[in-house]
C-alpha cells in the first residue's frame, strides 16, 4: 500500500525535516504517527498525499513509484486517498452537502446519485439535520465530521488524518477514533498523525514515532515495517 525507502525531506535549503525514513503500511492496516509538535508528522502526511516531493529516497503508493507518475496519474492516485486536515479546510461558501460532494464532483460524477450518496454518509456521521448548513455555522465537532465525510465519500483506499482530534474534547476524540476504526474495518488503510499520547495509548494500533526527523516503530509497527520495507529507521 505505502512504502518509504530512505525518504528525506527538506524545504529549500533548510534543515532536514525527515531524514532517511523507511517504513511500509500494509493494506487494511491502522497506524498512528506520533510525535511532538514540529516533529514532521504533517510533512510526512503531505508527502503521502503528494502535496510535497521528497528531497531524496523513494516511495511508492498502491504499488507504483511516485517519482514516475505523470501529473494526471498523480491526480488519479490522490483520488484514492482521503485526507482529514487539522484545520478541516472546508469551503465556507459551500453547504455541507456540497463540501462533502466535492471529491465526487471532481471525478465527473453528477446529479441525484451524488446527493443520495452524500446524504446517506452525512446521516451516518450524525449530520442529517445539517445538510444545507454552511460550515462556519457549525461547531468544531460538526465541522470535523464534515471533513471526515468528505475524506471518505469517494471510498478511499488510504485515509490520512492530521491531528483529527486537535480541536475537539476527549470524549469526541474517542468517538472519532471509533469512527476511523469502523472505516478501517471496511478495508480502508488508516494513518492518523497525532501528538495526543493518551489517545494513542488508549488504542492498540501500531505507532510510527517521529523524533528529530527519524521514525521509530512501536508495538506491532516494527513487524509490519520490517516485513514490508525491510528496515524501519
Amino acid at each position: 500500500m505505502v512504502r518509504f525507502e530512505e525518504v528525506s525531506l527538506r524545504y529549500d535549503a533548510g534543515p532536514e525535516i525527515l531524514s532517511q525514513v523507511s517504513f511500509a503500511l500494509d493494506p487494511g492496516s491502522f497506524h498512528f504517527v506520533a510525535g511532538a509538535s514540529g516533529a514532521g508528522k504533517s510533512s510526512l502526511l503531505r508527502l503521502l498525499f503528494l502535496g510535497l516531493q521528497p528531497s531524496s529516497g523513494r516511495f511508492s503508493l498502491f504499488g507504483r513509484d511516485v517519482a514516475g507518475l505523470s501529473r494526471d496519474e498523480k491526480a488519479l492516485v490522490r483520488r484514492r486517498i482521503g485526507v482529514v486536515f487539522q484545520d478541516f479546510r472546508l469551503l465556507g461558501h459551500l453547504t455541507v452537502v456540497e463540501n462533502v460532494a466535492l471529491p465526487l464532483r471532481v471525478t465527473g460524477q453528477k446529479g441525484q446519485k451524488i446527493h443520495e450518496h452524500v446524504t446517506e454518509l452525512l446521516s451516518w456521521v450524525g449530520l442529517a439535520d445539517q445538510l444545507n448548513a454552511f460550515p462556519p455555522t457549525l461547531s468544531g465537532g460538526q465541522q470535523q465530521r464534515v471533513a471526515i465525510a468528505r475524506a471518505v465519500i469517494a471510498r478511499p483506499s488510504l485515509l490520512l488524518a492530521d491531528e483529527p482530534t486537535g480541536n475537539v474534547d476527549d470524549r469526541l476524540a474517542v468517538r472519532l477514533l471509533y469512527l476511523f476504526e469502523e472505516l478501517n474495518k471496511l478495508g480502508t488503510t488508516v494513518l492518523i498523525a497525532t501528538h495526543n499520547e493518551s489517545l494513542v495509548a488508549r488504542f492498540s494500533h501500531p505507532v510510527l514515532r517521529l523524533k528529530d526527523g527519524s521514525i521509530t516503530p512501536e508495538r506491532a509497527a516494527y513487524a509490519t515495517s520490517s516485513s514490508a520495507a525491510g528496515t524501519a529507521a
Binding site: R89, L91, V106
Partner: protein, 271 residues
Amino acid sequence: MVYLASLAVAAALLVHQVTERWQKDLAGGLTIQVPPPTAEDAGAVYAARVDQLVRLLGEWPGVAHAQHLGPAEVSALLEPWLGEAGVPQDLPVPALIAVELAPGAAPDLSALTAELRGVAPGVLVDDHQRWLGDLLALGQTIKVGALVVVLLIIFSAVTAVIFLTRTGLAIHQQVISLLHVIGAHDAYIAQQFQIHALRLGLAGGLFGLGLAAATILSVGAWLRATENEVLPDLSLSLGSWSLLLLLPPATALVAMLTARVTVLRSLARMP
C-alpha cells in the same frame, strides 16, 4: 476595451468603405480641364473649341463616352464649397469634360494630352490617380493605425486578464489547493476559471459593443443632420456590422484562453 476596439475597427472599416467607393467611382474615368476663356476667345470661339475637344475625345481609342459638363453640373459639383448660389458670373471657371473609358481600356495619356493641347493649349488631363493615390495612402495609414490600436487593446486585455486571474488564484488559493489534493485534474481547476473569464469577457464585450454601436450610430446621425456634403456617408455596411459582432466572442475567447494558460502555469508549480 471592446468599446475602444470597436471604434478603431469601425474607423478602419469606414475608411476602407469610403476609399473603395471613391476608387470605384473614379477609376475608369478622366477629367479634362479646359482653361477658362480669355478676352480674345470668349463666347462662340471657346464653345467651338470645347466641342472640338469632346469630338476628338469621343473618337479616341479606348474612350467610351465624353461629355461636356454644363454650368448647372459644374455648379452642382462646386455646391459643397460655394453653396447653393452657384458659380459667380465673374469667376473664371475652366470647362470640364467628363470622359468615361471603355472597360479595361488604358489609353496613352501623354499622346492624348499632346493631341488635346494641339486644339486647346493648357488643357489638363486628370486621371485622378495622384489624388486617389494620396487618398488611398491616407486610408492605408488609418487602417494600420486602427490595427495597432486593436493590437494594443488586445495586449492590454490579455494583461488585465492575467492579473485578474492571478488575483483570483490568490483569493481562491485554499479552494484550488483543496481541489488539487482531492484529485482534481489541472484542466478541471482551470475550467472553473476559464468559464468565469469567458462569461465576463462575453458580457463585457457585448456591453462595450453596445456602447460603440450607439456612438457610431450617433455620429452617423449627427453627420447626416448637418447635411455635410464634403464628407462621404459614414454609415457602416451590414458586413462591417457583422465583423464588429465578432468582437465580443473573440474577446471572450482571448480572456478564456488567457485565464486557462495562467491557471495551468500556476498549477504547474504545485507538485
